[in-house]
């Protein structure tokens, strides 16, 4: 700190001509502290990832050394192919892709339809029903899990993908309905009124006018929905029980808790596997960052 205090004024000397040097110094110091805090926090959040990447490339002999190394001396890429050799991980990924894709479609379509109903039609009890939609956000899954399990068991859906896909088609979740409704309300009604006068049905208005205009909001919902289903742990844990049906999340846990057929040490491979599982949401997030945050910030949570 002391050194920065001394060096800062000398750096600024040339442009200091008329302004108050004390105030500028304080401002510079403030900026410095700000950057330091931001960088330290960012390091705290990202360092564990770097370490895991390093560990996933280590040979087993380097995993158990003290002091631990951040980056392996000898890089073992083969750990990554071992993931696919030692467990049916390609199958887990495929299962997850199928479930995620089908659930996403249902979630987007049904949340958009419901949001359309709430934003464009007047009917008795509408506000009360919308309040009910929002209040389901506060209902924890644990309260309904036993009867839901019994229902799916009665339908013969245990150990199928149905329990992980079908509920998405019925409303698609309160948060997404809320997000899309807020967005639909910002689209001028004149557009659909005009189409209505021209004789367009509400289905046409929904499909040809509102949905195309709501692309940014739908992108936000799609990203959230993808990450939610890709990362989902509890539902597959409860509803799936044979290895060939597993998703990546429970496949990874199976990896943790079941010893391999061979006695190979697997710590590094486990970390490689957990990075493989974590990668798709990270890539998607970075590719679509703008939608991700803006989608929430602009829909006006102030309500």
């Amino acid at each position: 700190m002391a050194t920065t205090q001394q060096s800062a004024p000398t750096v600024m000397q040339p442009m200091r001509a008329r302004s108050n040097s004390g105030a500028i110094l304080r401002k510079r110091l403030g900026t410095l502290v700000l950057y330091l805090a931001a960088i330290l926090t960012a390091l705290m959040f990202s360092l564990p990832f770097f370490w895991t990447v390093g560990s996933s490339l280590k040979p087993i002999t380097e995993i158990y050394v003290f002091p631990p190394t951040l980056w392996p001396k000898e890089i073992r890429w083969v750990n990554y192919s071992d993931v696919f050799r030692l467990a049916p991980f390609a199958l887990f990924i495929w299962n997850t892709v199928v479930i995620t894709a089908l659930a996403m479609i249902g979630q987007i379509l049904s949340a958009a339809a419901v949001a359309y109903g709430f934003s464009r039609f007047r009917f008795p009890g509408r506000d009360w029903l919308f309040f009910l939609v929002l209040s389901t956000m506060m209902l924890p899954w644990q309260v309904t899990i036993v009867p839901t399990f019994l229902l799916f068991r009665y339908l013969g859906w245990i150990n199928t993908f149905m329990p992980l896909i079908v509920p998405s088609y019925f409303g698609g979740g309160a948060f997404y309905i809320f997000l899309l409704r807020q967005f639909f309300m910002t689209i001028p009604r004149d557009l659909d009124e005009a189409a209505k006068i021209d004789g367009a049905s509400s289905v046409r208005i929904f499909w040809n006018i509102l949905l195309p205009l709501a692309k940014p909001a739908i992108a936000t919902v799609a990203i959230f929905s993808f990450i939610q289903h890709w990362n989902e742990f509890i539902a597959p844990l409860i509803f799936l029980n044979s290895t060939e049906k597993f998703t990546v999340s429970i496949g990874l846990r199976y990896f943790v808790s079941n010893p391999f057929e061979s006695d190979e040490p697997r710590e590094a491979i486990l970390m490689a596997a957990s990075l493989i599982v974590a990668t798709p949401p990270l890539i998607l997030f970075f590719a679509a960052q703008q939608y991700f945050v803006r989608g929430i910030v602009t829909t006006g949570l102030k309500g």
Binding site: A42, F45, S202
Partner: protein, 309 residues
């Protein structure tokens, strides 16, 4: 529909056009209505009924009155400890979590370069699947060769056994969930709230000579108090539901140290197949959540500021 003249036989809501609009509206929200009845309301009522029965999968439910609740409150040795453990975890993660998320949001609300990059980095942990998170932290907190204890060793502290020690297991869980959630959705919601605070308020207060601490307590905090309430309520619900992390990382151990309420419910339902007893646990949980949320909303009259123009 054919005669426009109203016959005052039965009062119906609105004009035919309005009724048509209402019908269509109901049709559009129908997916949600069905989903709500089948996946929320129905199961809530069914689990209330089941909570008064003895029901093993495959058999028929047998009415036993309050026996499940008596079992939970007076006989089940794991019930009260799992509840108090969960409360301990919840109090720590909610208060620290909300405070630290607000701090992170305020940091990102400042005017500086590469804000988007920082925001993305803060968000990283909350994108990580919980299984990866558990594996990652099991290694970071590994007592002998983990990075955390190595760091502590460097500054002259002998690190504890973390998740392998029954006193440090819950603090480990708290630490991991804070790490995973501070920069996530809660921070983004705070950020949205902070951006809704009018700049003019801060500017005029600054002209009047208020320093940044005064401005924080007199302007920022009251203006975002509804957002704080929202985050508190969802935070309590989320932290009381803690399950996956403990299930994967420690499976309730060591020696039941992380046997949270939800693990208790899960094992009763899906390992011992005591569906009646698990439903009673679910309803106890539901009532706890309901009371806590209701109390927070009631108490909020005293500290939440709503802006009515």
């Amino acid at each position: 529909m054919s005669t426009a003249v109203s016959m005052p036989r039965r009062r119906r809501w609105g004009t035919p056009l309005q009724r048509r609009e209402a019908m269509e509206g109901y049709l559009w929200i129908m997916p949600w209505v069905i989903g709500f009845i089948v996946f929320s309301l129905g199961p809530i009522i069914a689990s209330l009924y089941l909570s008064f029965t003895k029901y093993k999968i495959g058999g028929t439910p047998e009415w036993i009155g309050w026996a499940n609740y008596q079992e939970a409150f007076f006989k089940d040795k794991l019930f009260w400890p799992s509840l108090s453990r969960t409360a301990y975890f919840s109090v720590a993660t909610v208060f620290l979590g909300v405070a630290l998320s607000l701090f992170a949001a305020m940091l990102l609300n400042q005017n500086f370069r590469w804000r988007a990059i920082f925001r993305a980095l803060y968000y990283l942990p909350s994108l990580t699947p919980v299984v990866s998170l558990a594996i990652l932290w099991t290694w970071l907190l590994q007592p002998q060769v983990g990075l955390v204890n190595f760091g502590l060793y460097k500054i002259g502290i002998e690190g504890p056994g973390w998740m392998t020690s029954s006193t440090w297991a819950i603090p480990s869980m708290i630490m991991i969930s804070l790490w995973a959630s501070i920069g996530g959705g809660r921070m983004i919601i705070f950020l949205a709230g902070l951006q809704g605070v009018p700049k003019e308020l801060h500017e005029s207060a600054e002209i009047d000579g208020a320093n940044s601490v005064q401005r924080f307590f007199a302007i920022t905090l009251p203006m975002i108090s509804p957002v704080i309430l929202f985050n508190l309520i969802l935070g309590v619900i989320g932290s009381f539901s803690v399950f996956s992390l403990a299930y994967i990382a420690t499976n309730g151990g060591p020696n039941y140290a992380t046997w949270f309420f939800m693990l208790h419910l899960y094992y009763n339902a899906f390992s011992y197949f005591q569906m009646g007893y698990a439903s009673a646990l679910a309803w106890i949980f539901f009532l706890i959540i309901f009371v806590l949320s209701y109390a927070q909303i009631k108490l909020s009259d005293r500290w939440v500021y709503y802006e009515f123009v």
